[in-house]
């Protein structure tokens, strides 16, 4: 065998050995210490808190794993959250003075006894209510490392290329580019996770050691006996590492239909916002640094039309949504930010605004071509 042939065989064997990431798997190439933190972080992620351990007094779930569980830890859940804000154009009020944008659906027995409420009161100044599903958090450590410059390279707020798509970045309260949340409001994964403990479980942590008020009123005395912060920095960092190290699932090998669907996905314009592959920047975690990964998002906000509009948040108007990363669609049973679509066809049909061009092109495809696109999406 010639050296050239040996090299070709070697390269093919490398491709064949590329590690397949299943939903819930860590990114390949972690060190032993990082794999250990992934495993220990999963324990924190899967913990169910009790009031004696800091749960509540307002909460949506007893732990991260209650809502991010299907098909594996870090997956999606069937819970629907309620969010609310007030939009007085051009300003968005996240209603912090009335309890904030997340309206918790449960109370601890002590809070119920003190105030007689089963959930946080809906903020009276809200101008809109939104339903939110719990998405998969796979691949979020990779999305976290997509640089601002990459995100901005896809932005086209003035539609200079006249394709009807005007992506623009979301912004946090302090003006940084957002990546996380359906309104691209949160700039970094660590902040998202540090905020999620107190917001979703009522468990304060060292980075947000203050409990949320109840509809703007201070907590009644005695309903929250655990001293803040209610989890340690170590526990928070472990849970953060678990989420950070969750890989982006490798798309299932495509058949002929799927391959045709992948081509059509780009041809009809879906890939203008659902960018198939993104690249991470530098990171101390080698397994995450400078990687191409299947993302199917541009992390930008797009106006999705009046029919999908709900709440504002940050710079996102009610009809602006961040392009959803299309990860682990193979396991999804409900689609869109609020779970209103039960099939992928419905989800596409509900795209309005900047998504209406691709939607209309999808609708005029032959039945076979539409099926091919669905076959492709179901492989993600």
């Amino acid at each position: 065998m010639t050296p050239q042939r040996v090299a070709v065989v070697f390269l093919f064997s490398l491709v064949g050995c590329a590690k397949v990431v299943k939903p819930g798997d860590p990114v390949p190439g972690l060190t032993r210490e990082q794999r250990d933190r992934f495993a220990r972080g999963k324990v924190v992620f899967d913990s169910a808190f009790t009031p004696a351990a800091g749960l509540g007094p307002l909460f949506n779930a007893t732990g991260c794993g209650e809502c991010h569980e299907d098909p594996a830890a870090g997956g999606r859940g069937d819970e629907i959250e309620i969010h609310a804000t007030a939009f007085h154009a051009p300003t968005c009020d996240p209603l912090v003075q009335e309890g904030g944008p997340v309206v918790q659906q449960h109370t601890t027995p002590a809070l119920k006894q003190a105030l007689g409420i089963d959930s946080e009161p809906f903020p009276p100044s809200a101008t809109a209510r939104a339903h939110r599903t719990s998405p998969v958090v796979f691949g979020r450590g990779l999305l976290d490392l997509v640089s601002d410059s990459v995100i901005l390279s896809y932005a086209d707020p003035d539609d200079r290329n006249h394709d009807g798509i005007r992506g623009r970045p979301g912004r946090s309260l302090d003006g940084r580019i957002g990546r996380f949340g359906r309104k691209a409001f949160v700039p970094s994964l660590h902040e998202f996770n540090a905020g999620a403990f107190p917001t979703e479980t009522g468990v304060t942590d060292p980075e947000q050691p203050t409990e949320e008020n109840v509809g703007g009123q201070p907590l009644p005395p005695g309903v929250d006996p655990v001293a803040d912060p209610e989890i340690t920095q170590d526990a928070l960092d472990l849970a953060d590492d678990f989420v950070r190290f969750l890989g982006a699932p490798t798309p299932v090998k495509l058949g002929k239909d799927g391959r045709r669907g992948r081509e059509l996905f780009s041809q009809i314009g879906c890939a203008s916002c659902h960018i198939p592959t993104l690249r991470t920047g530098g990171s101390p975690v080698r397994a995450l640094a400078h990687r191409d990964f299947p993302a199917y998002t541009d992390l930008l906000l797009h106006d999705m039309g009046p029919d999908l509009a709900d709440i504002c948040l940050g710079v996102a108007t009610p009809s602006d949504f961040r392009t959803e990363p299309l990860l682990d669609l193979r396991d999804a049973k409900r689609f869109l930010h609020d779970g209103q679509a039960t099939t992928l066809e419905q989800a596409i049909d509900l795209h309005g605004g900047e998504g209406s061009g691709a939607r209309d092109r999808f609708k005029v495809l032959s039945a076979a071509d539409r099926s091919a696109i669905i076959a492709f999406l179901k492989a993600l």
Binding site: D93, V96, P157, E207, V315
Partner: protein, 119 residues
């Protein structure tokens, strides 16, 4: 076991003056130090030169409201109140606030607007 207990007790007797002294030192340092300063960066919810600034800040989706006032002695004069009065702030503006904690709450020392690129 007895000898271990004796050793621990002996060490405690020897170390206690050092620990007490260190604690006393820390107390005197605390008293001598100026009030701790805080920096917040967030979005203005409401602003009035007289009543101060309501700033929305937070971590991720866990948002909190921070109220910052001007120092009473400085109203209409220089210092912190001047920096409040001189600003044309409106809801939605992004600002960075340096402040210190006083009896009446957080008192602004410096407020600066943060320019956020459009879009």
């Amino acid at each position: 076991m007895h000898s271990t207990n004796r050793a621990v007790a002996f060490a405690a007797i020897l170390l206690s003056p050092i620990v007490t002294h260190a604690a006393a030192d820390r107390h005197s340092q605390d008293a001598a130090q100026p009030a701790a300063s805080y920096t917040f960066q967030g979005t203005v919810r409401a602003y009035s030169p007289k009543t101060g600034l309501d700033l929305i800040t937070g971590v991720g989706m866990a948002l909190r409201l921070v109220h910052v006032t001007a120092a009473p002695a400085a109203h209409g004069g220089g210092g912190a109140a001047a920096s409040l009065a001189g600003l044309d702030l409106k809801a939605g503006d992004v600002v960075r606030v340096e402040c210190h904690r006083a009896e009446e709450g957080l008192v602004a020392d410096r407020i600066e607007r943060v320019e956020v690129p459009k879009p």
